[in-house]
């Protein structure tokens, strides 16, 4: 096959030609992968070939080495490793040759492919001469600038792909030397220097040892600081990016440079081009991140400052805050139209918010004069900036400090909701929502009977403002309501307004003067919070009416005209929001006297949910699933009548391993259904169990779904009791395998730690359910595993990373084991004594539930021991 022709044809504007070419290439790849890869690399390296075919050759090569999906990536890695070494070395030669190509596209593609090969080979201790070969390009006098640039790029990408432990220190030293030399202004032109500073950014992680050496550190910092004032803004921006990264990785080593860095960043924020100034602000935001993290860490330990805390933000406060306040005045005219817009004023406000979180009260006297001086000015920029500054510092300082100012300012803010400038109204509404979110709670007096009527009337009027303002108003209502959550009887304070709020939110959700579904989504989500906070039963009738209205709207979504994929997405989003509201209504009325409202509408709801499923051929609607789970629990055994129809959707949800959230929710719904139906779930268990077991052995399924599946085994076993016996031969090996796995996983980070805990909790919950289910009839089936269970529990007990959830589940399972197997375990319990120590630890806990569980387990074990 003529590879050049195929590569060109694959980019043809003619769809038919393209399809044929693509399938030819695919066929080639499948039939002879090594040869395919070799041909691609030859194409990329060949200066006689057109740039277009070389480019695509490079991309295909890259895609044959790496994929986003980790399972696919693993497959690709295996394939590459299996390729004949002689062919691999030809390919790598071709790639290195291409770095010297006069065609910049080819150079750049090649450097990316080199990094992908390196990411596979260097950790396997292969291609050990790569770094040396690249560095040789840099040290040879006559190397053209284009090759140097491509080489630096390659070094940067390689550093990005591999981990610091994959390189020897002398290699790191050589890379850093080459990169830092590449930044030298007198020797190199723009492109080489930009490539060098970008490469340095990627190599910073590798420079641990070099940063710990004062001389080397001083040198690197000096070069970066010089680069931060280069004449080209792209290079200045890249230099500040390096400084941002250094602030995060090497916070503890920054002190000697802070004065210089402060001057550099302040100048950049004040006067440099926006892209540079944004990075300079980001430097301070990052310093705040670090100091907030240090303060949180210190707050949790009694050992005081175990981590060095230099209080850079506090020390720079008097000069930093004015610099940031200036940025607030640099708004853009259309900045409120887009969500998450990023410009000087937004970055400055965000940084100011972080400063407030870092230093607390100290920020207030530095910001308030700016607020007072500007908030009454009629010019919108001043008024908006003052409001934004005030809103930004509401989190961090103490309530005592803020409450008087908020009290005095609230009336002014409410009247500003009628300001002619929509910028001002937007920021004012946002500030109100921040006030309610952070400072309003049942115990605070920010809102009382004297100002609530005014607040409500302003909010209900402003919700009709332009969409971006209306969205912020929804946020304000959301947090206003949330402040009354858990307030007990005082949540009925909102009762007089409830009708109007609900009506306003429903009509806001219907607005057509919008460019996205953000407003309608905010309106429905706010409605959820209103439902949660409405006190039942006094508002039960209103909630019942709302339920009918929402069901009606859900019905209308089925009539929507669906032409494009956008229509489809709009329908799907709307259905998700409406199902969300229904779910919240069910949860809220559940357990109250108003439960009949739900039961009366159960049929209608279920019909709607099934129609929602029917609208979406491939995916099962997550929100509908959640709502069904809530409904199942509420209706109890009655839910059995929906099962024949619902089951296939449930099964599909459980099989949806691509969208793991859907799968995860579906697993939870199985639990709800087990508790609703008890042994009536039996006819569906074969189906459910086989999908769940398949899910567990599925390498692609997101790991977070697996622990809940184990817990779900417990739910099923508890519901069907002795009938679970037939699944035991499959389930026990899975549980034992998972227990073993949980002991082998190395906890290098918090996520992994948490995962191991979740996994173990799931395992314990599974055993608890099985033991309880078998207790009256088949307990002896579990006898052979009792020893393993005690060993596993002991291992978990000794794990210092064990969290409280695992502790609870483990202690409860110990009790279940003693309860179910009784005197059979007398010797086992007598021989392994850790349980006494374990229970002793639980009795020291602050958690009532844990102490109570431990008390019960102690009783169960004692009963075994005296039997």
């Amino acid at each position: 096959m003529e590879i050049t022709q195929a590569l060109l044809a694959a980019q043809s504007p003619d769809g038919q030609i393209r399809t044929v070419a693509e399938s030819n290439l695919k066929q080639f790849q499948e039939q002879n992968l090594p040869h395919f890869l070799l041909s691609l690399s030859a194409e990329l390296a060949n200066e006689q070939k057109p740039p277009e075919s070389r480019r695509l050759a490079g991309i295909l090569l890259k895609n044959s080495l790496d994929a986003k999906d980790s399972f696919r990536k693993e497959q690709l890695t295996k394939q590459w490793v299996a390729v004949d070494p002689a062919i691999k070395s030809q390919i790598k030669e071709a790639l290195l040759t291409t770095l010297a190509s006069p065609v910049s596209d080819a150079r750049s593609t090649s450097s990316q492919v080199i990094a992908k090969v390196a990411s596979i080979e260097i950790p396997r201790k292969e291609w050990q001469d790569l770094i040396g070969k690249l560095l040789a390009n840099m040290t040879t006098k006559e190397t053209p600038a284009s090759l140097k640039q491509a080489t630096l790029q390659s070094l940067g990408y390689v550093c990005e792909e591999i981990s610091p432990s994959d390189l020897e220190q002398d290699q790191v030293n050589a890379v850093l030397t080459a990169v830092v030399q590449g930044m030298n202004q007198s020797e190199h032109g723009f492109e080489v220097r930009l490539a060098a500073v970008t490469a340095l950014y990627n190599a910073l992680d590798f420079a641990q040892t070099n940063f710990e050496n004062e001389m080397e550190r001083n040198y690197i910092m000096k070069v970066i600081c010089e680069t931060a004032v280069s004449k080209e803004p792209e290079i200045r921006q890249a230099a500040f990016e390096c400084l941002v990264s250094i602030a995060s990785i090497y916070y503890g080593l920054l002190e000697p440079y802070m004065q210089t860095l402060f001057n550099l960043t302040a100048n950049a924020i004040r006067g440099d081009e926006e892209q540079v100034a944004l990075q300079a602000i980001e430097f301070w935001s990052t310093v705040c991140d670090e100091e907030i993290a240090i303060q949180e860490e210190c707050a949790g330990s009694d050992e005081g400052n175990s981590v060095l805390h230099f209080r850079f933000v506090e020390k720079a406060l008097h000069v930093l805050v004015p610099v940031l306040l200036e940025t607030l005045l640099k708004q853009e005219e259309d900045q409120d139209q887009e969500d998450g817009v990023w410009n000087l004023s937004m970055a400055g406000g965000t940084c100011l918010g972080l400063v407030a979180c870092t230093v607390g009260d100290a920020v207030v006297p530095l910001v308030m004069p700016f607020v007072q001086a500007n908030i009454t000015k009629s010019e919108w920029r001043s008024h908006e900036a003052a409001t934004f500054a005030f809103g930004s510092i509401l989190e961090g300082p103490s309530v005592d400090k803020l409450a008087p100012m908020v009290h005095n300012g609230l009336d002014f803010l409410l009247s500003a909701m009628k300001d002619p400038s929509s910028h001002v109204r937007d920021t004012t509404a946002w500030t109100l929502s921040r006030i309610f979110e952070i400072l309003h709670s049942p115990s605070s007096t920010i809102i009382d009977n004297s100002n609530l009527p005014k607040i409500m009337s302003v909010l209900l009027e402003s919700i009709r403002d332009v969409p971006n303002v209306a969205e912020k108003v929804c946020g304000a209502i959301y947090f206003l309501a949330q402040g009354y959550e858990d307030a007990g009887p005082s949540s009925s304070v909102l009762t007089p307004y409830l009708g109007n709020i609900i009506a306003a939110l429903l009509s806001t959700a219907d607005r057509t003067d919008v460019s996205s579904n953000r407003l309608s989504s905010s309106a429905y989500e706010t409605l959820n919070e209103i439902v949660r906070c409405s006190s039942i039963p006094e508002n039960a009738n209103m909630i019942a009416q709302l339920l009918h209205e929402i069901l009606k709207r859900l019905g209308q979504t089925m009539e929507m005209e669906i032409v494009s994929s956008d229509d489809k997405e709009r329908q799907s989003n709307l259905q998700a929001l409406l199902c969300g509201v229904i779910q919240v209504i069910i949860q809220t009325l559940n357990g109250s006297e108003s439960l009949p409202v739900i039961l009366q509408s159960a049929d209608q709801m279920m019909v709607m949910f099934l129609r929602v499923f029917a609208c979406h051929s491939s995916t099962v609607h997550e929100e509908a699933m959640l709502a069904i789970g809530a409904l199942a629990y509420t209706t109890g055994p009655e839910f059995a009548k929906y099962m024949p129809e619902f089951f296939r959707h449930l099964e599909r949800g459980l099989q949806n391993f691509e969208e793991y959230q859907v799968c995860s929710i579906s697993v939870g719904v199985v639990g709800d259904i087990c508790r609703a139906l008890d042994d009536k779930v039996l006819p569906y268990c074969d189906g459910i169990m086989s999908v769940l077991l398949k899910d567990l052995s599925n390498a692609v399924l997101h790991r977070s779904v697996k622990p809940p599946i184990f817990s779900c085994f417990g739910d099923i076993a508890l519901a069907i009791g002795e009938h679970f016996e037939k699944y035991l031969p499959y389930v026990i090996p899975m549980l034992q395998g998972a227990a073993e796995l949980s002991a082998q996983i190395e906890c290098t980070d918090e996520d992994t730690e948490e995962y191991v805990n979740q996994l173990r909790r799931g395992i314990f919950e599974a055993y608890s359910g099985i033991l309880q289910g078998f207790k009256s009839a088949k307990a002896d089936l579990m006898l052979p595993y009792a020893g393993h269970l005690l060993q596993f529990t002991e291992a978990v007990f000794k794990d210092k990373n064990r969290d409280e959830g695992v502790t609870k589940a483990a202690v409860a399972m110990l009790g279940d084991l003693a309860d179910a197997l009784g005197p059979n375990l007398k010797l086992l319990f007598r021989d392994c004594t850790f349980h006494a120590e374990f229970l002793g630890e639980c009795f020291q806990s602050d958690d009532d539930q844990l102490r109570e569980t431990a008390t019960w387990t102690q009783g169960m074990i004692r009963r075994v021991l005296v039997s």
């Binding site: 998450g340 406000g349 918010g353 969205e471 949860q587 357990g591 929100e623 409860a812 309860d819 019960w856």
Partner: protein, 420 residues
């Protein structure tokens, strides 16, 4: 325009993320329900109240007979067994309940180590009952199993109010005395709390739990719409001289009916136990001597005993103690059947002590006891009542027993107070 750096969230982006919140809440609710379901299966759970309403019928003699059969079978059982209870219906529920209270023996001797191993508290006068709260209602049941009140209360899940503190089906059981005068339940023991059994816990722990947990609820608040009766804890004392004095003479808000002594290390045990003791004299009780059916104190001691098939009359102890017998004529004359309870009069001249055991000899039938009576007297009660009419165990004997313990200090206090 450049987007913000990956991890940087613009401060002005509205922070509502209700979907994640819904997801988390749903997961939390599911987790709660799972632990609820598992706890229920942990036999600590709800069947006690899900037994359904029981029609208020005074137990017939017929039923009493079965009831005592049931109590015979229950010999080895020490713990409330809801699984068994769940299968019970109607009158069976009452019978089942009737066997669940821990019943103190009467103190006929002072137990050793009274001051170090025992608690003492003044027993409120009134109706002993179980109070069970679950699923939004509270029910109190008398010793014979019949319902005293069904009402809303601030106990956990004791009323249909928005209670966020736990699954609504988890239940709590308190051992109480209902004091008519101030319409208050005085809690003397805690058997289950929020679904967790305290059977296997020591009295020391149960009292600690009772005091700390009850105060977390509003159960001791004055009555209100969702809280019909007040629940008060009884002040419990270490049984040293000071504690005994306080329990014996101290002012309380209720009418005292004797003193209760609880062994600190004893678990809650259904039925009669020597690890809880009751003692009375005329200072701390109006009811030292038993009354007859008319509420009068008879001139001769009367006891209620159960007829066995050999004609002997036995106590309700486990195993039963035979105290005397009834002639066949008498049985025939009154149409008595095995298991019936009878009220008999103790005649001084026929009472013998055989091997340290009381034998009442020939007994004079007075009649059948009150129909609500479910049990015969216990041996310790008969003995206490017998002694009370002749040589009662006096408060001085209790004091002396404590004083004889060398570890006791401050031994004068009680004597002095008692002079006055």
């Amino acid at each position: 325009m450049a987007p913000p750096p990956d991890h940087r969230r613009p401060i002005k982006r509205v922070a509502i993320s209700d979907q994640q919140r819904r997801r988390e809440l749903a997961l939390r609710v599911q987790a709660d329900r799972r632990s609820d379901a598992q706890n229920r299966a942990r036999q600590l759970a709800s069947s006690v109240l899900s037994l359904g309403p029981v029609t208020e019928v005074e137990p017939e003699l017929e039923q009493e007979q079965e009831m005592s059969d049931a109590s015979d079978q229950s010999g080895g059982r020490t713990e409330l067994d809801p699984v068994r209870a769940a299968s019970l219906r109607g009158p069976e529920v009452r019978r089942w309940f009737a066997t669940q209270l821990m019943l103190p023996e009467w103190m006929v001797d002072v137990p050793p180590l009274l001051d170090s191993d025992w608690y003492v508290f003044p027993r409120p006068s009134g109706k002993r009952c179980f109070v069970v709260s679950s699923n939004g209602t509270t029910v109190s049941r008398l010793r014979n199993g019949s319902i005293l009140h069904r009402f809303p209360s601030s106990l956990p899940n004791g009323a249909r109010t928005k209670d966020v503190s736990g699954p609504s089906s988890s239940y709590s059981i308190l051992d109480c005395i209902f004091h008519e005068a101030d319409e208050t339940y005085y809690v003397i023991d805690m058997v289950c709390w929020r679904g967790y059994s305290l059977y296997d816990c020591t009295a020391e722990f149960r009292f600690f739990w009772l005091n700390s947990k009850l105060s977390e609820t509003g159960a001791s608040d004055p009555p209100s719409q969702y809280h019909r009766y007040r629940f008060n804890v009884v002040q419990i004392y270490e049984c040293n001289l000071i504690g005994l004095q306080a329990a014996y003479l101290g002012q309380v808000s209720y009418v005292k009916d004797g003193l209760l002594f609880y062994n600190k290390h004893a678990h809650y045990q259904a039925g009669n136990t020597p690890l809880a003791l009751v003692w009375k004299d005329n200072v701390c009780s109006q009811y030292v001597l038993d009354t007859d059916n008319q509420g009068q104190i008879p001139s001769q001691q009367q006891v209620v005993l159960e007829l066995q098939n050999d004609g002997s009359l036995t106590t309700s102890d486990d195993p039963p103690v035979a105290l005397g017998c009834l002639s066949r004529d008498m049985i025939a004359q009154y149409g008595l059947r095995v298991g019936n309870l009878v009220r008999v009069e103790v005649r001084d001249d026929s009472v013998k002590l055989v091997d340290g055991k009381l034998d009442l000899g020939d007994l004079q039938l007075v009649g059948k006891p009150n129909r609500s009576r479910a049990f015969a007297d216990t041996y310790s009660k008969v003995l206490f009542q017998y002694a009370a009419r002749r040589a009662p165990l006096r408060i001085e004997d209790l004091v002396a027993s404590i004083q004889s313990n060398p570890s006791v200090e401050n031994s004068q206090a009680l004597d002095i107070e008692m002079e006055g």
